[in-house]
């Protein structure tokens, strides 16, 4: 079973950036990609994202699972947009160049295809940076970075703890499920949905109960060691910002500024090549 936060220890310039920098960059980059539908900017972000991905020495094989997941999601998103709103692009760009018809109201237009291109580009602009953040940030540095950008440390730490316990809980789920299968609880597709739901409860109830015990123990352990005593805390894993960190954040801030500038300059979030 794969942990969700999949830190890959393969030193690179990106790995050397602090977690806070990476989180900050991720946010700036995402805002840039979200605010703008300017195809030129999105294409640039996608290309730059891939370049940074290469720089971080990650491989496609490292992220296969998430990549597959996002691809399915992206295709689904596009199909649904076309199915429910085939004239969306026409409405946005104000012209209508019909290419061919799929029957009924589903007419393929240049504008609609162009809109879909933008949609795909948005995914491509976001995907590499998200992957980079997940794979190059140590889970322990994650809490420190959240705290650094202003999230309360008690909240930041609970996020980190959840990440810390995910593998344990996965393991426990696995063990409980095996023991329950031995008692004859069938989880495979051979069973009807209702029976499978019932079977799932035979695993989830013990899992929830034992997780409650766990929470009790851990909260005592944390309190006994002074968690929550002060308004602030220091972080063992925190690293000081270096010039590269400032440079990275500066560049990402420029990207966001560019996105905002383009929105204002174009007078709309969309770049329209049809007029």
């Amino acid at each position: 079973m794969r942990p969700i936060f999949n830190y890959i220890d393969r030193p690179s310039p990106i790995h050397r950036l602090t977690g806070a920098t990476k989180l900050c960059c991720l946010l700036l980059w995402s805002f840039a990609a979200m605010t703008s539908y300017d195809t030129r900017l999105l294409a640039f972000l996608a290309a730059a994202g891939v370049a940074v991905f290469v720089l971080s020495r990650l491989r496609i094989s490292d992220i296969r699972f998430l990549l597959g997941f996002v691809t399915v999601f992206m295709v689904l998103n596009n199909v649904l947009v076309f199915a429910f709103s085939p004239e969306h692009g026409v409405g946005l760009y104000g012209t209508r160049h019909v290419l061919f018809s799929l029957g009924g109201r589903w007419v393929v237009t240049k504008e609609q295809l162009f809109y879909h291109l933008n949609l795909v580009l948005k995914y491509l602009a976001m995907l590499p940076v998200v992957m980079i953040f997940i794979c190059t940030t140590q889970p322990s540095e994650f809490a420190a970075s959240l705290n650094r950008i202003g999230v309360k440390y008690t909240v930041a730490y609970s996020v980190a703890l959840a990440l810390r316990y995910i593998p344990d809980i996965q393991q426990e789920y696995h063990e409980i499920s095996q023991a329950q299968q031995a008692r004859g609880i069938e989880m495979s597709k051979k069973e009807s949905l209702l029976r499978r739901l019932k079977a799932a409860s035979a695993i989830l109830i013990p899992l929830i109960l034992s997780s409650m015990d766990r929470i009790d123990v851990i909260s005592n352990a944390m309190e006994l060691r002074g968690f929550g005593k002060n308004k602030r805390r220091s972080w063992y894993m925190a690293r000081p910002f270096r010039p590269a960190d400032f440079a990275a954040m500066g560049l990402c801030a420029l990207l966001l500024a560019a996105a905002i500038f383009l929105n204002i300059h174009n007078g709309t979030r969309f770049w329209n090549p049809f007029i």
């Binding site: 140590q138 344990d168 004859g184 609880i185 035979a202 309190e223 006994l224 002074g226 005593k229 063992y236």
Partner: protein, 569 residues
């Protein structure tokens, strides 16, 4: 004498949720540098007492209290939990649960981080604490990569980063194998001496804690202090047996031989206890007088495992060719360190994992093609923690679950469940909700839920973990009773007493190999096996040597036979 660091003054406490007070009129003082063991059966109030020392009572658990508790000269109810934690460092029982950091270093640093200590002091102090307990080479490891003993060391380092004046250990031996437990007691002793802090250990495994000298033992029962004496005085008296605490085996053996135990003889350590020539003669005499138990007849092989090999996905081989056979009606123990392959072996038997090569056969039939469910009709697996198995609200339904999923008719279910509940002594509770049961009773429910499927073999993971002597005896006598009814019982265990007392035979695993398959008395007197499997030599062996008995192995075997008979007379 210095002032007491912990002082209880006619203190009583009652949890809000409970009808009766848990602690009654406790008066107790512990000084700096003292080493104190607090023991007593489950429910005697020893954990509550620990919570009063570290401040969880009254700050986290609410209740009514009278009297006073002060730590470091200040009353705990007027001091914040954080202040108290600067004086009292607590190592909790469940070392897994209290691991709050992603890595060893972060876990050790946790208290310092909360105190806003910054670099370079932060890194320096973490390293110093890590060196004190010998985990400095593991700083970047994740908790999952550590053994139970190492986790405990990390927890200890986590409280040593502050200069605490009291080190409080809640059942430090609960999850450790015998050799690691022994090392843990030694480490606690050394750290106590180095820091000069008071050491308070809550534990019911008396003999294991007494491996190193303790200044005092406080025996609790029913929420009261029954005795506050030196270990020697306690062992010389009769309070232990009366209160469900197991006395050290050598003390029992001496009593069988008719040797009087006096405090003057220092019975707290078998190595240093004063034994007169007449005492030794009495032991030798008892040994010669006691007849060996008759050999039970050899039965046919039931479970035959041949050259079993298993490797994880990452290619690491966990079992390197295990061959063994279990006879019908046997009661066997599977022992060895964490990671020796014991659980992997059980998983292969149950079909949870698939072996790379080798065969498992039950009564001559090969099991290769059987599913988990089909195997479960023959081999029942009981997990260590009953909370991991129980999914129904009512006891009856929980026990019936396996039958119902197998599609049995409801009147058959009723008949079989009722029969099983009677065997398991759960009949009076049949319509109770599971949540109303104690841990030991829940364990019974999980065993009953397996037993109802009428397996030929029951496989139990640590059947007595976390149980005091009385519950331990209850569970084991119950298993013994099942065994007499013809069920083969195999148990994975760290508990040497359990193994000595109940198992006829032990399978010893080490590094994925079976290194011994012999009667328990033989294994616990073999230095080489003890060392490789991280076991601990039984004190009976030392006693035999000290009394000049050549055949120490036979002495241990004779003792076990005698005890078994004594128990069932």
């Amino acid at each position: 004498m210095s002032d007491p660091i912990i002082q209880f003054d006619h203190f009583s406490f009652q949890y809000h949720a409970q009808a009766e007070p848990t602690l009654h009129d406790i008066t107790l003082s512990i000084r700096k540098g003292e080493k104190v063991l607090i023991c007593g059966p489950s429910g005697c109030g020893k954990s509550t007492l620990a919570h009063c020392i570290n401040g969880l009572i009254p700050h986290s658990y609410r209740g009514e209290s009278t009297g006073r508790v002060s730590v470091g000269g200040r009353e705990t109810k007027d001091t914040s939990l954080f202040e108290i934690s600067r004086t009292v460092g607590t190592v909790l029982q469940d070392t897994d649960g209290q691991f709050v950091g992603m890595t060893v270093a972060e876990d050790i640093a946790f208290a310092l981080e909360n105190d806003c200590v910054v670099d370079p002091a932060l890194h320096e102090r973490v390293e110093k604490a890590a060196r004190a307990v010998g985990v400095e080479t593991h700083l970047s490891h994740a908790p999952g990569d550590l053994s139970g003993g190492q986790k405990q060391r990390v927890s200890l380092a986590g409280i040593l980063v502050d200069d605490v004046e009291v080190l409080l250990f809640d059942e430090p031996l609960a999850n450790l194998d015998p050799a690691t437990g022994k090392a843990a007691i030694e480490l606690i002793d050394e750290i106590g001496q180095q820091t000069g802090a008071a050491v308070v250990i809550i534990e019911h495994r008396l003999e294991d804690v007494l491996h190193r000298h303790m200044d005092r033992v406080i025996l609790m029962g029913g929420g009261r202090i029954l005795a506050d004496v030196t270990p020697d005085e306690l062992l010389a008296g009769s309070l232990l047996k009366e209160n469900g605490i197991r006395e050290p085996l050598y003390v029992t053996a001496l009593k069988y031989a008719g040797v009087p135990i006096t405090a003057q003889a220092h019975p707290d350590s078998i190595e240093h206890m004063l034994l007169s020539e007449s005492d030794k003669a009495a032991v030798r005499d008892w040994f010669c007088r006691t007849p060996p138990a008759p050999q039970s007849p050899e039965r046919e092989t039931q479970l035959a495992v041949k050259d079993l090999r298993f490797a994880y996905d990452n290619g690491r081989e966990a079992l390197h060719g295990i061959s063994l056979s279990v006879r019908k009606g046997e009661l066997g123990a599977i022992v060895g360190t964490n990671g020796a392959g014991k659980s992997t072996f059980c998983k292969l038997i149950c079909g949870f994992e698939k072996q790379q090569s080798g065969t498992i056969a039950l009564s001559g039939c090969d099991w290769a093609s059987l599913s988990i469910k089909e195997r479960a009709d023959h081999v029942g697996y009981v997990m260590q923690n009953p909370n991991q198995m129980i999914s129904q609200t009512l006891i009856f339904d929980e026990v019936a679950l396996g039958l119902r999923t197998r599609g049995a008719a409801e009147d058959e279910v009723k008949a079989r469940v009722e029969k099983t509940l009677k065997i398991c002594g759960l009949w009076p509770f049949r319509s109770w909700p599971v949540s109303a049961l104690s841990f030991g009773q829940k364990k019974r429910v999980t065993i009953a839920a397996i037993l109802v499927l009428e397996p030929e073999i029951i496989l139990l993971d640590e059947p007595t973990a976390g149980q005091d002597y009385r519950h331990y005896t209850e569970i084991m006598e119950f298993l013994l009773d099942l065994n007499r009814r013809g069920v083969t019982v195999l148990m994975v265990t760290h508990d040497m007493h359990l193994m000595l007392e109940y198992a006829r035979r032990a399978f010893v695993f080490s590094d994925g190999r079976l290194i011994a398959d012999a009667p328990c008395a033989e294994i616990l007197t073999d230095d080489e096996i003890i060392r490789r499997a991280s076991l601990k030599e039984t004190s009976l062996y030392t006693l035999a040597k000290r009394c000049g008995i050549e055949d120490a192995r036979a002495f241990v075997a004779r003792f076990i036979d005698y005890e078994r008979e004594a128990a069932h007379r």
